[in-house]
Amino acid sequence: MFVHLHVHSPFSFLDGASSITKLVERAADLDMPALALTDHNRLSGAVRFVKAAKQAGIKPIVGCEVTMEGGFHLTLLCKNHTGYRNLCAVLTQAHLGNERGSPKVDLHTLASHKEGLLVLSGCRKGLIPSLILRKRFEEARQTAEYYKHIFGQNSFIIELSESLLPGSMSLNKALSELASSLGLRTVATNNVHYATKSDFQIHDILTCIRTLTKLEDVHPERRLNSENYLKSWEEMKAEYRDYPEAIHMARILAEQCECALDLGALNFPAFAYPEGFRSSGHFLRHLVLKGAQTKYRKITRDIKARLEHELGIIEQLGYEDYFLVVWDLVNFAERQNIRHAGRGSAADSAVAYCLGITDVDPIAHNLLFERFMSLERGEKPDIDVDFDARRRDEVTAYVYQKYGDTHVASVATYNTFQGRSAIRDVGKAMGYAPDEIDIIAKRVPHIPACRLEEAFKSLPELRALDIPGKRLQTLIETAGKLAGFPRFLATHLGGVVISKTPVTWLSPLERSAKGVNILQFDKDDVEDLGLVKIDLLSLRTLGAVEDSLSLIQGAKPDYDRIPLDDKATFERLRRADTVGVFQLESPAQRGLQARLGADNIEDIVASVALIRPGPIKGNMVTPFIKRRHGQEDISYLDPRLEPILKNTYGVVLFQEQVIEIASVIAGFTPGEADKLRRVMTHGRSFEEMEKIGGLFIEKAVKRGVTEEVAAEIFNCIRGYASYGFCEAHARAFATTAYKTAYLLEHYPAEFYGAILNNQPMGFYPISTICVEARSHGVEVLGPSINHSGKDVVVEGSSIRLPFKMIKGMKQSAIDRIIRERAKAKFRSFYDFTRRVKLDSDILRNLILCGCFDEFMESRKSLLWQLKDAYAVGDNPQSEMLVPLPGAGANCGGCGPENPVVRDHGDGAYGTAYFPGQAEFSLAEKVAFEYQILGTGVSAHPMEIWRNKLKKQGFVSSRELPQIKPGDFVKVGGIPVRPQRPPTRTGRIVVFVSLEDEYGLIDVTCFEDVYAKYGKFLFPGKLMPLGVWGQVQKQGNGFSVIAKTVFPLSYVL
């Protein structure tokens, strides 16, 4: 029997080509009693590995192949918990003590943390083997002796790691002789990088990606052969036939190691409650009752019972401290005026509401606490809080300051290969030209890499690619095999953990790109480690709200008390005029708003939940709208369903409803009901769905429901399967949605300005927001050197684009401009360049986006002077002659025809005038503005083409509502966010908005049109489109059902 003690998984990041599951399954198939995982310098795979190994019935041995100072490798294995803790400490030092991305273990640190660790001499990159390979035998012997002295004879083992590479035979012989001369043991490993021989090709591709080489290139990191797979005992025995003791030793060492990772034990700190309270539970109760008095004023018996019920469950599960920690964070945000809003299922909790964590009253809306927490499930609660994106870091800093650096860390996230990224990386390795890869990748929708083959067969824009079949097929197949492999480690958007013990007892730390310490595990893994994650999320919408309020001159509305029945706001929603409104701006949402006729907040709650894959696929949208308008009768399969579904017109819309139906109709326990919700919301297998459906029907029949009715009720909730919202979450989002619609309605300039300030956010690009602003009477002014600020400035009913929108602009440059301008306004381009030094690319961008237009000089002329302006800017003290355009070496020298301007050092150049320097054409100006600002300022491209298009019968978005529904029209514009959402029938429908100078035209392309014109809809580059199709009116909304799609350049 053999055990592999040197194994890499994909968590060796581009150096492991088989999933942990596959490696473990292969080891189990080969009857191995144990398996080690030794990824490079990280333990990121450890939790998954331990779980998979336990499930497969084999012993997991946690380890790591570390890089020592000098770049040499050592293989470390944890014998026990102490070894694991020491390994975490060693890796933390290696990461935090060295440049980011180049961890190095220093021998002294390792020596002082050797307890509980077995040290193997490593692969060919180990110091001892590499010395032997260089024939420095004496140094190798001295090193081995030194390691033996440091780690001890029993803990330092000579590793024979490979057998079929050039030089292996003599290397293994020398290593074996060295071991025996020093009384050390030898162990055979295979430096495993993939499970089976056939996985070598994936490993080779990954190596090319890692080393930025192509398959055709030679690189020392690429393996010479495909021998690094998980070989059987027989294969290992044959290859190490001269070293049977090394084969035997693998088993002996495996027996010395126990599973070093404890999963599941809760590791959350006790909250330091104030004096006068007996316990954290006592303090929590006090805060909740105090909060309840403020929120409810009169605490009725029902409210008290609900709070007691929730507190009881929280106490029984031991999460009082968790609630207090979150309360403390929110309280801090409140004190610092950091805008925040709770989201997710926490809004099902009256305790969270009373603590001020969430804004939704779950008692008033009859929300189920069991959706959030239940004794039966006993799971950790998950409270998510959104903070103003720009100030979220202040909250995080507070956590670090309060609980200490050693007890707080950010959660990592594994950036995995998706369809596009896999195509890009594999394409590069295969030698595709950059342009070719770009076109392919941009046509690939956002799908997992494992669905690439299917996409390339079914999507017309991918079928239309002109690439030789076999080459493309290899690309697709190889990219597909990378599905789900981690590409690199990044920081989770908002997840932090606070632990009772130092976090480094559970995970090594490393530094993120932003400089914060992150764990080596993701959100799921940290929970398995017993850590509780708190999500401190950043939501740009909250930043936009804050900005809107600060931009409003004079009396500002009280955001927290915005009336929820504002007629004008609901009228806006009914017009589907919602671009910029949180959650309600997508074409599908605008389409819904045009039909729904929202007139109260409940309609918005329903809207948020309706435009989700579950309700759409379950065909619930149209019945909901019809019933909302009384055009369809509401009937219930069982009278007991009425109180549950009454508010949603008999339609199952929320997860809470599913749970309630299951408990009322089938008598499901909370745990069973939650399992049902999980099976449905996580798109589990058909078998799981059938199984729980069977249980539902069986239990319902026992409670007197006929089998037919029970089956039909289950079908109704099954139709809802996958991706439904919980009502609490929908309510939390709906409140923000309504309030942003209110701000848009009453303070459009400020709100549009705030959206631009907080880019990127929302569904639409900057250009669409600017078009929308203009079409709502808000003039969008281009950036100005004397009037723009870092952020958008509101000038009456106009907004002025800020410096920060200019491509390449840095904060330091903005600060210099504003500081200098505060002394005196800039009087000319030359005055500016004399006083503010900027690099030429930024200055060029300032010119081309019109920052100096107020000086009445043409942009072309300023661009011409750019180089010479620099001569002045660089020597502000000197008097010098500045050649005008047409002068100098480039233009034939100075003379009477080529005048010069004399600078007296006071900036008094006045407005230079350069006759003969024509301005750019409008089209050129707009093209530069798009390049630099992301939007046109001088005009919209469609405005330039409008006359030509008009002559050909094209109608604009402004004219579309005047066309009779059913008539055929030609429309054109810049396509915005084409989408292929899931549909009830499973057929592909593409929704795309065409942006013109007045707004958006929503276009629907059904499968036949998409099949023909998909290559234009998803061309992989920006391409203005024309559409010929039929006008459709639904509710208050107009759209075009496309019959033909074509590049607009065909008609221009």
Binding site: P166, M169, F200, L224, S226
Partner: protein
């Protein structure tokens, strides 16, 4: 110094290890296998894995042979 030959040769093996090979009109006996390794080559062009043997001949020379599927080649001769 060595010379790349890369010519097909007849090889007689024992337990998968070359024992003698026929080169320039005579049989050369393998005294010892000095080294053995595998090489994948250009797998993306469907090239198959080869097994290389560096052998010491009875007469004293050093040769590199490889097995490609079922065919043997003499790859290199060392001075």
């Amino acid at each position: 110094m060595s010379k790349i030959v890369d010519q097909p040769v007849l090889v007689v093996c024992e337990n998968g290890t070359p024992k003698r090979f026929f080169w320039i009109k005579k049989w050369i006996t393998v005294k010892a296998v000095i080294d053995k390794w595998n090489e994948v080559g250009r797998w993306w062009e469907d090239e198959k894995e080869k097994t290389f043997f560096r052998v010491l001949a009875g007469e004293g020379g050093v040769y590199e042979l490889y097995l490609n599927q079922k065919h043997w080649n003499l790859y290199r001769v060392f001075d």
